[in-house]
Symmetry: C2
């Protein structure tokens, strides 16, 4: 099985790449992990210029010998290659899996909107820090290689699902890149946002015409909230906010979920599993 690592947003370090390569060689020796050197490039905020990030993604997506694309890292930038890459995805792109989260939600969403391949919300190749002891990448590879259902977010229950970072979901709203999520359970998570910003994002989610018809919403981890902009200062809890906005949306708030920017980021394949 061949898995390619590319970085459509920010770069990953040589050390991080070596670590995930070693982990994969140790636990999944049957996997040929191809880490394209593009992932080390630096151009301002990004892992290389837009054109190179787009070309690299397309090269692997359209390669029939590659079974899965495993995104290296988020940050910001995968939206900048959508207009270039989406029309150029060929037949080989339609059969493979694409795994990542956070900023990669732009690509996962756009792929799912066109029902190209199997977008999967899950850990990225750079999520192999010393502190996590490989738990995240272990789950990611467990799903990509063996379809190990222990890697799956435990509330997945036979309904179609989709998962997004809330900022990325909201940046897709009102654009042609947003997938039709009718009857889907929508999983959201957030990192590094003040409570008033989270509330504003939930307003947009709740009012989005494109999201009418979803089956319900689950909230993953909300991490790294800035000091001075948390529950105490805002005056409402996440549960209050979720209940309010899901109520406005007319869909059930289904409770918490184990996805997010922490070690407990379980796998949510888009659609049915």
């Amino acid at each position: 099985m061949k898995i390619a690592v590319v970085a459509p947003a920010r770069s990953i370090s040589v050390e991080g790449a070596a670590r995930v390569a070693a982990f994969t060689a140790l636990y999944y020796p049957e996997v040929e992990l191809v880490i394209d050197p593009q992932v080390y490039m630096e151009a301002g905020h990004f892992a290389g210029p837009d054109a190179i990030r787009a070309e690299t993604f397309l090269r692997y997506a359209n390669d029939p010998s590659v079974d899965a694309i495993w995104f290296g890292r988020g940050g910001y930038g995968s939206n900048r290659i959508l207009a270039e890459v989406m029309p150029k995805l060929g037949p080989a792109a339609r059969t493979k899996s694409y795994m990542g989260f956070s900023d990669m939600g732009f690509l996962l969403g756009a792929l799912y909107a066109r029902r190209i391949g199997h977008p999967v919300h899950g850990p990225m190749a750079s999520n192999v820090s010393e502190s996590s002891k490989g738990v995240g990448v272990g789950r990611a590879l467990g799903w990509l290689v063996n379809k190990d259902r222990n890697a799956l977010e435990p509330t997945l229950n036979g309904r179609p699902a989709a998962a997004f970072n809330l900022v990325i979901l909201c940046a897709l709203i009102g654009t042609p890149w947003m997938p039709d999520l009718t009857d889907h359970v929508l999983y959201i998570e957030e990192v590094g946002e003040a409570y008033y910003r989270i509330d504003r994002l939930l307003f947009q989610m709740a009012n989005a015409t494109q999201l009418k018809g979803i089956a319900g919403v689950r909230l993953g981890a909300v991490t790294d909230v800035p000091d001075g902009d948390n529950e105490k200062e805002f005056g409402e809890s996440l549960e209050t906010m979720m209940t309010r906005w899901c109520g406005d949306m007319g869909v059930p708030y289904l409770g918490r979920a184990r996805i997010g920017h922490d070690t407990d980021n379980l796998v949510v394949p888009f659609g049915l599993v």
Copy 2:
């Protein structure tokens, strides 16, 4: 002429209210400035609970003796009263002006979407700090009271226009609160956002189905960009970003404009002036 000050988002200080009242009494003695005590309320992040902010806005909007509503302050929160107030605006609401900016863009946009009254992007009643010497509120009152064209943003040229904080514009995208801006020149400004976030917002603006057909975009002030997330680290200038995304959008980037979170925040009435 009667002007009512209300605060649909955050509160204003007693000192700030006294200052704008004194300024108005001094320079516009013909104006009866009514500052509702709601503006001093505090409930978590907000100037009172949603229900009270909504009731206060409605009371003045539906009062035929009030000629204009002058918003006290932005922050966050006017979106939370839209669903309550918009269906309850009566005939008296249709003839008055509504002036503010920043978070008030939610209300200005929703009013303009329904062609209710005269939404105006301009300084707020609390923009009367010692450093500004009353320049902003002077322009605001100059427009509200005398339709003084010296208060107008100088690039307004007989085409319909609309102005928004970019975050607020993007939070309206994909929702029924977004006005139809076909053939309008769109003025945007931003405060306190990292360059990568500004780029992400411009992506959404450029890809928004609802904004197809606008006449062009002008960029106002971009202020208080956080350290470490500015042009140098991002690798692109605002001009590059504007040119790129307006190009993707298929509309001209028309250059800079004198609106924003600084003293040079000139008046942009929605529609034609």
